[in-house]
Symmetry: C2
Subunit: 492 residues, 2 copies
């Protein structure tokens, strides 16, 4: 094996870090909490981004770009919003360095102090709604369906590669509507887009739900979310879509003349997913040999590895590999041939398993002679030797199979880990011994929610929006009446 990975059962957190670092996805950087996304990891993110971007455009959205900086006073305009973000933001106070006259090298020039501090955006509602004020006069200017791909900064104290970093990449949609109904429909529509993306591209089964007040986005009326389950039984919020009501329109005085010729505040949504999804992907599917990536977004879908003795065999195999490569690429398959001669085939096998390349083709001299190839799939490690004539149709189907199979495996695990419980003892036992989502009644108060969190570290991930769990019952902690089970879990 090329590089050692800590077994998942031994130390899940270290297993995850090993995968990210040794799989070539990301590196730590010299800046606290910020990571370097390496080419292989960035290519994965590009594939995710491109798929999402197309889905946004297909649903009528356009991209735009707003400033990185937010004047400090803007953050304060929406009370809940500033409360949510003030504690973890990067603040720009000066705009120049100079040589220290006392010889201490380069220092901040005290004369270059900004009149008003600028915050590096943790999210862009405020700067965007300040802009929308100029764009919206009448109902004819609505809806505005804008998305932005950008970097944002939240000064998290405890960071983990991809899952929680001070700077991360994301998209943030910010839409403006003439009616409450339309804005609510948009927030729900984008939740569907996220769920579809997670399941179809990332092979990641998700539960669609709405957050409790405690877990809501700072400034939202309702936060919808998709929740996924990792292989250690912890949940991960994979995307959120917020119905913002008129909160930001009021904070930035954005009114429009409606069809009845009356001034009204504009209705808003915002929604986002981030590079955190890469972390979710790694945790949901990988194993002790490395990454397992869904073919639809894998940077490399097929790798060809030669096995040969001597230059003559090598030349023949090189030629055949080039032919296969050309055909695969014409089919739109992302393929590569690793003809490097400084490492053994076994090292290459381990390396591409580590990197989660879905399909490996092995080409040996005997294969060539027999007009056959050996094809291995990464997810199950199953190998098959097939006739070279049928290989292209086989590979096309295999990539689809792998995509489905990864999803089904994750879904089976997730479904097994939704446990309805009715007593406090059961609740604690399931959390501690089995993990996953615990489906239980709750009395609807923030007090109870907080008490449960303090006692067990479990939070309410969401109230499912598909109507499941709607029934009379009593709160697992307080015994007070409840009309709806909610999903609890320990979470990333």
């Amino acid at each position: 094996m090329s590089k050692e990975i800590t077994p998942r059962a031994q130390d899940y957190a270290q297993w995850y870090n090993d995968l990210v670092l040794k799989g070539g996805l990301a590196d730590y950087s010299a800046v606290r909490g910020c990571m370097v996304i390496k080419p292989y990891g960035f290519s994965l993110w590009e594939n995710m981004r491109d798929a999402l971007d197309k889905m946004f455009k297909d649903t009528g959205h356009v991209n735009a770009y707003f400033p990185l900086f937010i004047p400090k006073s803007f953050l304060s305009r929406e009370a809940a919003h500033v409360e949510g973000f003030a504690k973890e933001c990067a603040v720009v106070t000066h705009y120049r360095l100079k040589n220290d006259p006392n010889g201490n090298g380069v220092i901040v020039d005290p004369e270059a102090k900004l009149e008003e501090e600028l915050i590096v955006r943790p999210t862009s509602e405020t700067i965007i709604w300040n802009t929308y004020k100029d764009w919206i006069q009448s109902y004819r200017d609505l809806p505005i369906l804008v998305n932005q791909w950008a970097n944002v900064v939240r000064w998290e104290m405890r960071t983990r590669l991809f899952l929680r970093t001070a700077e991360f990449l994301w998209q943030e949609g910010h839409t403006a509507h003439a009616t409450k109904e339309e804005a609510e429909a948009e927030a729900k529509k984008m939740l569907e887009v996220y769920a579809q993306f997670a399941e179809e591209y990332m092979a990641l089964p998700v539960i669609k739900g709405v957050k409790t007040e405690t877990e809501r986005f700072a400034g939202a009326v309702d936060t919808y979310c998709i929740e996924a389950l990792m292989q250690d039984g912890k949940a991960l919020q994979a995307g959120t879509s917020h119905f913002l009501g008129q909160n930001f329109a009021k904070a930035f005085d954005v009114q429009f003349l409606n069809k009845e010729n009356k001034q009204e505040y504009v209705w808003a949504t915002s929604w986002g997913v981030s590079t955190r999804l890469v972390g979710a992907l790694v945790m949901a599917h990988s194993d002790d040999d490395g990454l397992v990536l869904p073919p639809k977004i894998a940077p490399l879908q097929v790798v060809i590895v030669p096995i040969y003795k001597g230059d003559e065999q090598k030349a023949m195999i090189d030629a055949k590999a080039e032919e296969i490569l050309t055909t695969l690429r014409k089919m739109g398959i992302r393929a590569q041939y690793d003809g490097s001669d400084n490492v053994r085939p076994g090292w290459k096998f381990a390396e591409y398993e580590m990197k989660g390349v879905p399909v490996r083709i092995v080409l040996g001299a005997r294969d060539l002679a027999n007009n056959q190839v050996e094809i291995a799939r990464r997810d199950t490690k199953a190998k098959e030797t097939i006739s070279a004539d049928g290989m292209y149709a086989y590979i096309e189907k295999l990539l689809e199979d792998i995509q489905n199979s990864i999803f089904n495996k994750a879904k089976a695990y997730r479904d097994e880990h939704i446990t309805p419980v009715d007593t406090w003892d059961e609740f604690v036992k399931v959390l501690d011994e089995k993990g996953g989502f615990v489906f239980a009644h709750w009395d609807g108060t923030a007090e109870t929610e907080n008490e449960i969190k303090e006692k067990t570290k479990a939070t309410i991930r969401c109230i499912p929006i598909d109507g499941s769990g709607v029934e009379e019952g009593s709160c697992i902690l307080t015994g007070k009446p409840s009309k709806q089970r909610v999903l609890f879990a320990r979470a990333y």
Copy 2:
């Protein structure tokens, strides 16, 4: 006309601003020097970015992402580099806000001061070379051919939409090589990529050259550039590619074991183009009626406008328009139908001229009856009524014609505005009365270059790399001997 544009001849700067603002490309923002790139402008940038990104990938480059923040001490490692960027950088000093106990709202928390200030990246050589240190051990790790699409910040005092903004979007390539020759070849190769992109996609003729020492990138050994000419006779640097020698490798101690088993410092390049190119595009081609956009990158290539009386005609035209739209889109043409009923056709004509949509199809009831359409091109305003049967082939060819024609027009203007001069009086006269590039001898010293700049505001844009102007002569200012004419111009 929908919106008034200041005529170019009356006030060039205001004409430019009107185009950017009223053409829907960008807006001013609440943050000094930062702009909002509006959806139409961003779509233009996306088309440019996608074309460039493909060219980078076709030449073997991969994308990655590095932190937004650069520790202050990193900037100082390369002497020329810090000298170049210290005077205009945004400095993060704190990581938290809090409520002022004295009731002054939200203030910076003095207890959340960073140990070391962070600079918002003005360019990423330092943070990237600090990372490359971990990626490079032996010649087998080379070359590294990485590009990054990112936002950067330079605290410019005088800003102009797209041309000079405090925050801008760009790409920055950062490559690492085992030999000087390979790094120099890479820097030149990327200059060719930029030139090809500018000419083929932006229809912007450029001169390829090398900068003088005075105009070189802070930290580079050689800066190659492409220089374009705007319609007011001022030059604009449209892209740069730097051969960095071993400067950054030495500053960050990045050495590798070469094939001779000796430690050696790594050789580097960096290269970038930015949203500034959007400004160049606007200035190079547009006219008093609005933007003129090259079809290859225009957000919208064809717009269909109906002319009708009454609902019956409208319904027939709507149906035909949808049919045309479907066909055009299948051909890969970006097309839209404007069937809105709240403005007149004349208003729409003006609006799409303003936005620089290359081709307009007008569909009237009589056209439908006669199986014909009226097709107008934006660049020359020529109109033609043709049979509907031949329209698709006609439009396909027309888009190509427009692309070429815009380029040829800009090239003719540029070529007319390269004036060889041999005396100081001529030099000043051409600069003042004709503008454009002045091709003159220079004695090769920074003193003379600076004196010419002080006297005339003209700078040396570049020394052409195609060998033109290589001849014996004498400096227009000092009369000292010179072996090479160089291109002077006033510039953006």
